[in-house]
Amino acid sequence: MSLKRTPLFDAHVALGAKMVPFAGWEMPVQYEGILSEHIAVRNGAGLFDVSHMGQIEVKGLEAEQAINYLTCNDVSLIEDGRAQYSAFLNENGGIVDDLIVHRNSPNNYLLCVNASNLEKDYQWLIKNNKFDAEIKNSSDDYAQLALQGPGAAKALSEALGFELSSIKRFAFSESVFFDEKVLIARTGYTGEDGCELYIPEAAATKFWDALVSLESVVPCGLGARDTLRLEACYPLHGHEISDSINPLEAKLNWIVRLGSGDFIGREALLQIKESGISRKLIGFKVEGRGIVRDGAELFDEAGDLIGFVTSGTKTPSFEKPIGMALVAKGSAKVGSNITARVRGRDVQLLVIKLPHYKGI
């Protein structure tokens, strides 16, 4: 089966992007280079095609109840026009996927889920939906762009005449540009200010061109997307979070509303909270030589295996490589040294407080 292409495929190729397979799509991993794109987002404005992400609509009289049952957070805590970071949990409290819920109204929600989990998420939602709410996979209808960086607001204003300051962080607004209805959300995955645009698929190139033609906007690929989110310590499903990792271990307690009513996984989390989590997400910086990547085993000073790296690489904002890891609780206090085994060699790490980088 061939890879899917977003409506911007030709635009990426024309810009000289290196295209790679990702979650069944042919996506740009870089244009000029991962490092320069990363730096552009930290200092200016970067534009990402994230049309591969999944969009699921939940509508109906019991949409709010459905979402509150299917996710661990509580959408009654946000007003219309606000977005909320959340997660679908399985019966064991493990994370099926993380997502952003946009609340249009009590009966109307747009969910943005990971490209790699879209089919799984959709089937899981259908299976577990016992409410008067319709769940629709609308991913084919939407293209999605992310404009990120301290220069994003200015670029957005220049290209579309929209003032990002008119919406609060994690709020969104539906507006019309080029005769198209677009949802602009002040969200992102880079640790910088900026927005994500949900655009009708057929109009994607109009918006891409309007933004990328600005001198201040740099096209950025999935490579930079990963180094940016790692610095900001945002989890990536399959790494810091997964079906076998629960939100309490992953430092996502803040999205879990145990007091707000029943949801899938609540029982399991109550038990875990009662007995205490056995492992915990930590951050590290490499003190020795080399890059320590996901999967690397970690050892304490006594030489005992304490866990493994969930993500790690060399990123532009820091002199030494950084990463995150899941380790036995109490085995790696902030300020202590632990050891990673990399290709048969021991590399010393310093455990540090998260996040690595805080932009916004």
């Binding site: 991962i34 490092l35 030589r289 080399g290 890059i291 060399k314 990123t315 290709r343």
Partner: protein, 127 residues
């Protein structure tokens, strides 16, 4: 990028150039382009003896680590001292200042098994 004359190549995109009694080893322009910007170079131990095809050293981009394989066997006599600070030299100048390792006492017969510049050019354009 023009490939300098006199180099021999492997199908894994390493090149070797004989300079008197030493063999200089690096990776091709094609390879550095595939890998992306290098952020780390893990050097081998000077003095070690290496067999043809064994992992000589490792280069890393933000996305992955890649082994560089010895195009011919020999003893490691020198490692490019600039690659520790500036691994991106390999991207900028893969055939020149981005050289990686020098070998001595090489098995010159093994050179015959490698691709010529023209053969390598064909190999990488047919992709």
């Amino acid at each position: 990028m023009e490939i300098p004359e006199g180099l021999k190549f492997t199908k894994e995109h390493e090149w070797v150039r004989i300079e008197g009694d030493t063999a200089v080893v690096g990776i091709s322009h094609f390879a550095q382009d595939e890998l992306g910007e290098l952020v780390y170079f893990e050097p081998p131990e000077v003095g070690n003896v290496i067999e043809k095809g064994a992992s000589l050293c490792v280069v890393e981009s933000t996305k992955a680590a890649s082994d560089v394989y010895a195009p011919i066997g020999g003893a490691i006599v020198e490692v490019n001292p600039d690659l520790g600070e500036s691994p991106s030299l390999v991207n900028e100048s893969p055939y020149n200042t981005g050289w990686m390792v020098k070998l001595s006492s090489v098995n010159k017969e093994e050179l015959g098994e490698l691709l010529s510049v023209e053969e390598y050019r064909d190999f990488t354009t047919k992709g």
